[in-house]
């Protein structure tokens, strides 16, 4: 401290502060902290506060830190962006349509991977709180997936970037515009140096702006890159149809569906709709005469495959051979066909041929173009094109091979010919193919600007970072899977000073002040809209008749000759995107992070999936696995691919093919926010797989380049469910949890599905005491396990609706996750290729509820309508109710999980649902707040009021479910759907012999196997 420089020089600080003009003073705190001496001062004065920031944040502390960061963020938000005071006025006259306590719904659209899905956003007093599907939008039909449900958390995420930055220093939007001017001046002379990198674009407005820009700056190039690549499909369809086209499937018209490693029900554009269409042919009721059939040929377990009637588990390299074998079967040339499973494929082919014009072969996005081409050739041969598959123009503005597009950009960057790179979204530093060395090329670009919702890996290396708006904050538009356009209207003004891509493009075009609203509106006003139509489009959430028209096209039936088969010894590696956090963009979304993955039930992590035998082969025995699992740990292995080695946790999944290792990319974010990139020794927040994702192996690879070696040590894993089978030998007998059977059996005797004990139990429905008489409503739920794909939409819907807390990985490892609704997954049969069943488990709302009599303070009691009401403020937290609940659906606040402090999170909460405190038990309420809202409405209707009608109350899970597996209603209303489902022969109660008399019941899982295939 002797040196003058290192002592506290307040004079210097004061001078620096003095230089800053008054108004900017607050916003310049970060500038103040720029100096190294300030850091030193911090370290000296507040070593304890400074240290955790230097060393990264421990996950358990993140809530605390988050609240601190919000305190600062709040300070920033207090300053109006323009600096001029904005007056706010209380309502003197209440605005029309706005009734406090009554939500409004606005139609808008959520983009993902370029394609949009129509949603209805629930708004409470101007705050969006919940996302529902738009029943009028063809990509949704009212269903939602987990991404859509979780997007509401993304809106309020306090980690979202809030200011324009230059290498970490705060700047303003006008600073950016100023810095842009010389670049634009140069581009006006020679546009070739200006590059724009976007993700997939279907937005007509954005597309028009981009095209206009290309016209304005001749030579300017527009590149596209999306790490969850659609290139295979694009190129495959191009080779089949001779141009970039789009295939829209009509699963509701298909009796037979063959999936070639495709997860069409939970992945890709239109999957929500596809799920609903597929389910519409799969629901079996007492009078159902036919049922569709799904053959899944897959290299890793998927949601779609898990409800398949026949599932073939093959190595990734064998899918093409299988496709060729099917093609050979339908008479398209036998070259390269696989010899294995011949009888299985022959039976499949016969089934396809029997269902000419009512069958679909769908190839997965990870399959090479040739498989897509073969699939389309088969579709042509079986008459699917034009009947069950519609071919349209691509909804994308500029369909390109994005890998090649990015490769060109990288080549040009390396050549030094890129003078300015404007990135609208995306995170190429993190997600570009490993062999592109994107960061090195990036460094050679003299002007780099990045529009991004987070200050992420790419932002940090860019000259300019501009915070991007959330889709609920800005105007825009986009196309759905069939080309239907939705105008995306904002629900709230940008929370964090974000800018939309359209705004950035407007500045590039030289226009300074075009708001996204003006841009979108003027685009449509010049493209067929008028005031009436505009209002109608906004109201409906779809632009009338904007679906792309069907093209009369036919697929080429000449199949590309097989390339010499790749060497396929040793392990095959399959790399695909994560089912929860997608390509990594949702990594900071704690709801998605904590969501148990559909197949593995793992949270917060990506793991290397192996079959049981493959795990044994690397020395990971079954007994060791069980022991480790009991401690919520798993083994780690070193995965080497082309000389790069990653240490990954290993997870064994029944149904994986032998010698195949599957891993999901998207994890391992370094700068994605506090949730995304928690850095600690024990919990690194997943492994970054992009370093082994090469441009010629985006979906993995095969052969001797892959080695997998067991490494020392174990790794804690937040898995919410053991890899449970319900094979009687594992669980002591048939527990009757999943009742299943085949469609043939069902038609012979619909009751046989449920087994013999069921009938016995049903007869013994007698009690010592007279049953309670439910005179009013009797709420009940029926869940159809035949159509549940385990997609998790309901789980997040429940979390959003009911303000359910996130607990963090450490608490999940301690088995304390809080989801009120969980999806149980069971295996049956041999672990090589078991049957998979999904069973959503909300509270059963038992009539003889075991939880009720044991509560010493009567905090859980029975309502006159049959609900197990939970009185949070009476609960003392003995946990006896949870112990005595045979379904284990009760959730306890072991700590104060709810975040009471983070200001940003408060507006997100559903105001109709209590935010629970520490020490209190909570559980599914059948969305009692929705029931009561409907009852109030019914009461107001007419002088005497009326009874709530069937369908007026939908629970959050029911509303979200893409496959409409959940039905809710009043059992006392004989005309209700739920009452009729309760009479279905396949209706059964979980653990019914305990005589808990649950109100939630299930319909047995009915599969429709081909009688020609045995086993």
């Amino acid at each position: 401290m002797s040196d003058n420089k290192t002592t506290l020089d307040f004079r210097e600080f004061r001078e620096r502060i003095g230089d800053i003009r008054g108004k900017e003073y607050w916003r310049s705190l970060e500038e103040l902290s720029r100096g190294a001496d300030f850091e030193e001062l911090m370290q000296d004065e507040f070593p304890r506060q400074a240290a955790p920031l230097a060393n990264g944040v421990h996950r358990r502390d993140f809530m605390k830190l988050m609240s601190a960061s919000i305190a600062l963020a709040g300070a920033a938000a207090c300053t109006p962006p323009s600096g001029k005071p904005e007056k706010i006025v209380p309502y003197v006259k209440q605005p029309e349509d706005l009734i406090p306590g009554k939500p409004l719904f606005f139609a808008t659209a959520m983009p993902l991977g370029g394609y949009t899905t129509g949603v209805l956003a629930e708004s409470h007093m101007g705050r969006p709180t919940k996302i529902e599907g738009n029943p009028d939008h063809p990509s949704s039909l009212g269903g939602t997936d987990a991404y859509m449900q979780a997007s509401i958390l993304g809106l309020y995420d306090p980690d979202r970037s809030q200011v324009v930055r230059t290498f970490g220093e705060t700047r303003t939007w006008s600073d950016f515009i100023g810095a842009l001017q010389p670049v634009l001046k140069e581009a006006a002379v020679n546009g070739a140096g200006l590059r724009i990198l976007t993700q997939t674009v279907t937005s007509p407005t954005l597309g028009a702006a981009l095209r206009a820009l290309v016209a304005q700056y001749p030579g300017m190039q527009w590149h596209q890159w999306e790490p969850v690549s659609g290139d295979n499909k694009r190129e495959g369809l191009r080779s089949a149809f001779g141009g970039y086209v789009n295939a829209v499937y009509h699963f509701d018209k298909a009796s037979v569906v063959v999936s070639l490693d495709s997860d069409f029900m939970s992945d890709g554009a239109g999957h929500v709709r596809y799920s609903r269409d597929f389910a519409s042919r799969r629901r079996v009721r007492h009078d159902t005469k036919s049922m569709n059939r799904l053959y899944a040929i897959e290299s890793s377990p998927t949601s779609s495959g898990s409800i398949a009637d026949h599932r073939l588990s093959v190595r990734p390299s064998q899918i093409e051979g299988c496709a060729r074998a099917i093609a050979a079967g339908v008479g398209l040339g036998a070259a390269g066909a696989i010899a294995e499973n011949a009888s299985w494929i022959a039976a499949l082919v016969r089934d396809l041929q029997r269902n000419q014009g009512a069958a679909i072969v769908v190839a997965g996005d990870d399959q090479p173009p040739v498989v897509h081409a073969i699939a389309m050739a088969i579709n042509q041969a079986i008459g699917a094109i034009g009947t069950t598959i519609t071919i349209t123009d691509s909804p994308e503005v500029e369909p390109v091979n994005q890998l090649e597009s990015l490769r060109r950009l990288v080549t040009d960057m390396n050549a030094g010919s890129v003078k300015a790179l404007i990135m609208l979204g995306g995170n190429p530093i993190f997600d570009a193919p490993a062999d592109f060395n994107f960061a090195a090329a990036f460094d050679k670009v003299p002007f780099r600007a990045h529009l991004s919702p987070y200050y992420d890996e790419t932002s940090m290396l860019s000259h300019w970072h501009i915070p991007e708006t959330h889709y609920l904050e800005t105007w825009g538009d986009g196309r759905g899977h069939d080309g239907t356009v939705t105008i995306q209207q904002p629900l709230i003004a940008p929370l964090y000073n974000g800018r939309a891509a359209i705004e950035v493009l407007a500045t590039l075009a030289g226009g300074m002040d075009q708001s996204p609203y003006d841009a979108v509106r003027s685009h449509w006003m010049t493209n067929g809209a008028n005031e009436t139509l505009w209002r109608k489009w906004l109201n409906d959430g779809v632009v009338t008749n904007s679906a792309l028209p069907a093209r009369t096209a036919s697929a080429s039936t000449s199949i590309p000759a097989p390339v010499a088969p790749k060497q396929s010894g040793g392990f095959e590696l399959r790399i695909t995107h994560d089912p929860n956090i997608y390509d990594g963009r949702f990594a900071n979304n704690a709801w998605l992070q904590e969501l148990p993955k559909p197949q593995t039930k793992i949270t917060w992590e990506n793991v290397l999936l192996l079959s049981p035998k493959s795990a044994n082969a690397i020395g990971f025995g079954d007994a060791e696995r069980d022991d480790l699992f009991n401690e919520k740990h798993t083994l780690q292995a070193d995965l080497s691919f082309r000389g790069r080695t990653l240490r990954v946790p290993v997870w064994v999944v029944p149904g994986m093919p032998e010698n195949v290792a599957t891993i999901h990319f998207g994890y391992g974010r370094k700068h994605g926010g506090k949730v995304a990139s928690e850095i600690s020794e024990k919990n690194p927040g997943g492994v970054d797989i992009y370093p082994i994702r090469f441009s010629d192996g985006l979906t993995g690879g095969a052969g001797a380049q892959i080695t997998l070696v067991r490494s020392a040590g174990t790794y804690p894993i937040g898995c919410t469910q053991e890899h449970q089978s319900i094979n009687p030998k594992d669980v002591g007998g048939d527990r009757g949890i999943i009742r299943s059977g085949t469609f043939d059996e069902y038609q012979r005797n619909p009751h046989a599905i449920l087994g013999e004990e069921h009938e016995a139990a049903a007869e013994k429905d007698e009690s010592f005491y007279p049953a309670f008489e439910y005179k009013g409503h009797a709420w009940a739920m029926v869940i159809d396990t035949s159509v549940c794909t385990g997609c998790n939409g309901c789980v997040i819907a429940c979390q959003a609706e009911n303000n359910i807390s996130v607990v963090g990985k450490e608490e999940v490892v301690r088995e304390r996750e809080m989801h009120w609704l969980r999806i149980d997954r069971y295996y049956r049969g041999a672990p090589e290729n078991p049957e998979v069943y999904h069973q959503p488990v909300p509270c059963m709302q038992c009539e003889n509820a075991p939880c009720e009599p044991v509560c010493p303070v009567e905090a859980t009691s029975h309502s006159s309508e049959g609900l197990n009401d939970m009185t949070y403020n009476r609960c003392v937290g003995t946990r006896y109710c949870s112990n005595n609940c045979p379904y284990k659906v009760r959730r306890f606040n072991f700590f104060h999980y709810a975040d009471y402090d983070t200001e940003a999170m408060k507006p997100m909460r559903n105001p109709d649902v209590t935010v629970r405190t520490r020490g209190v038990m909570e559980k599914c309420t059948y969305c009692v707040q929705r029931i009561n809202a409907a009852k109030i409405e019914a009461e107001k209707d007419g002088p005497q009021g009326r009874r709530v009608r069937d369908g007026e109350v939908t629970t959050a899970c029911q509303q979200a479910c893409p496959s409409e597996a959940i039905t809710f209603g009043d059992m006392n209303d004989p005309s209700s759907r739920v009452a009729s489902l309760k009479k279905e022969p396949a209706n059964y109660a979980l653990l019914e012999d305990l005589n808990t008399r649950p109100r939630t019941t299930y319909l047995g899982a009915i599969r429709n196997p081909n009688p020609e295939i045995r086993g």
Partner: protein, 474 residues
């Protein structure tokens, strides 16, 4: 038995024909010969009234204070942060909190059993250990009481479990076994405390009279409630004591019966069993006697009370341990049999999971500790060896803890739906709470042996032959 002055004529035998009974066939004495009223009073009251406290006491008391601070820290953390610091989770809502509660409550059974039931059964040998056992009971109940009070998520609302008049006009839920627990345990604690205190009154008077320190005299005097030892006092005292003994007797059975209802009323396989009440009561007596032995053997040694707590006492306690241990072991076997015999898939799996599941080591240890170790008590050689008795008692102490572990988390962790199965491990805070509760127990015990007569002075005096000089039957 008292010596009679007049020998009936028909019993007169020639001296030469007198049979010398070998010593080992004589009943062991409940007090060693050579004591007088004065020596008993001196011996016992000196332990309390002596000026110099032995170093050993300071050491023990110091250790207990350290453990108490561990307890205080744990409780502080618990109240400020939440029960999440423990190892409990979603399938296993009760862990070491309830294990330790039941363990302590079980230990708290011996005192009342010895005092009340053995009093009513006129087992005179109880006299020298009853005070000590009662104190142990009280302290164990105090330690036990910590758990239900603190295991709740919001302990500051625990008073809602009591039926008190309130503005919400809400009763507690009388159908809940936890509610019954509140009554059972609080009644037991109250009656035990009264019984113990009433028994202390004559001795407090003795201490008052013998104390040289003014402060001590005042304090003991207040406790003695003006006891003068008049015949009227003795008369009323005896009546009150007998009445309390009568009241306590059903409580010995009721407390653990009701504690067992916490489990038996629930429908979890492994809990839902009709034989739980007798099984639990036997287990409690078993545990209680083991703990009395655990404490009495060292106390007798260090405080030189071998004359009063004789081998006969220890041997009798060993016998009771054997008897109750057999009941407990029988219950284990019945549990297995009934699980199998039920034919119910969940019950059968529970049995299987106990023996072969992830907690099989606990189960094996349980059988060794509670099933096999007490079998040593068949042999007089082991029964009369303090070392063996102590070892056996330690086995039982551990075994009874394991029993509750096997019943509570090991039943909860794998119940009906395999999807919800999990594991339970006590966290460091679970253990610190347990160790801390031992600290509380020891703390109270050390205070007790220093400041109160650990053996009933006046009752010991009745054991002397002089007390029976008039041939009266007790």
């Amino acid at each position: 038995m008292a010596q009679k002055d007049e020998t009936p004529v028909h019993e007169i035998r020639p001296v030469t024909q007198e049979v010398r009974v070998p010593e080992r066939y004589l009943p062991a004495p409940t007090i060693e010969p050579g004591h007088s009223y004065a020596s008993i009073t001196d011996h016992i009251s000196t332990i309390v009234l002596r000026k110099r406290t032995p170093i050993g006491w300071y050491v023990g008391f110091g250790i207990s204070l350290i453990l108490i601070s561990v307890l205080t820290a744990t409780i502080g953390k618990l109240v400020f942060v939440g029960v999440g610091i423990w190892g409990i989770n979603h399938p296993v809502g009760w862990g070491m909190d309830i294990i330790n509660f039941v363990w302590w409550i079980g230990i708290g059974h011996a005192g009342t059993l010895i005092s009340a039931i053995l009093l009513l059964l006129r087992q005179e040998w109880r006299t020298s250990i009853n005070r000590f056992a009662e104190a142990m009971t009280l302290f164990a109940v105090a330690a036990a009481g910590l758990y239900p009070a603190l295991h709740t998520g919001r302990p500051w609302y625990d008073f809602w479990l009591f039926p008190y008049p309130n503005t919400m006009t809400l009763w507690p839920q009388f159908r809940s076994p936890l509610m019954w627990d509140v009554f059972a345990v609080s009644t037991y604690a109250t009656v035990s405390a009264l019984f113990w205190y009433v028994g202390l009154i004559p001795d407090l008077a003795t201490l008052r009279d013998r104390a040289t320190n003014v402060v001590a005299r005042k304090i003991y005097g207040m406790g003695a409630l003006g006891w003068r030892g008049s015949a009227k006092h003795w008369y009323r005292y005896e009546t009150a004591y007998l009445l309390l003994a009568g009241l306590s007797t059903p409580l010995v059975l009721s407390v653990h019966t009701i504690v067992s209802f916490d489990f038996a009323v629930a429908q979890i396989p492994g809990w839902h069993a009709t034989f739980f009440p007798p099984y639990f009561v036997a287990g409690a007596v078993f545990a209680g006697f083991a703990m009395v032995l655990t404490l009495a053997i060292p106390a007798r040694k260090f405080l030189k009370l071998e004359d009063f707590i004789t081998m006969k006492h220890l041997e009798n306690m060993g016998k009771i341990m054997l008897a109750t241990g057999m009941i407990v072991f029988y219950s284990y076997l019945m549990e297995l049999f009934l699980g199998w015999y039920s034919g119910n898939v969940f019950e059968r799996f529970m049995v299987h999971n106990r023996i072969f599941g992830p907690y099989w080591k606990m189960y094996v240890a349980l059988i060794v500790c509670n099933g096999l170790a007490p079998q040593m008590m068949w042999f007089k050689r082991f029964r009369t060896s303090t070392a063996f008795l102590f070892i056996t008692a330690m086995f039982v102490n551990v075994g009874m803890w394991l029993e509750r572990f096997v019943i509570i988390p090991a039943s909860l962790h794998r119940d009906f739906l395999p999807s919800s199965w999990g594991m339970y491990h006590g966290s460091p805070w679970d253990w610190s709470m347990f160790i801390g509760s031992m600290g509380l127990f020891l703390f109270l015990l050390f205070l007790f042996i220093r400041f109160l007569p650990m053996i009933s002075i006046f009752e010991m005096r009745t054991l002397l032959p002089e007390a029976h000089a008039h041939g009266e039957e007790h």
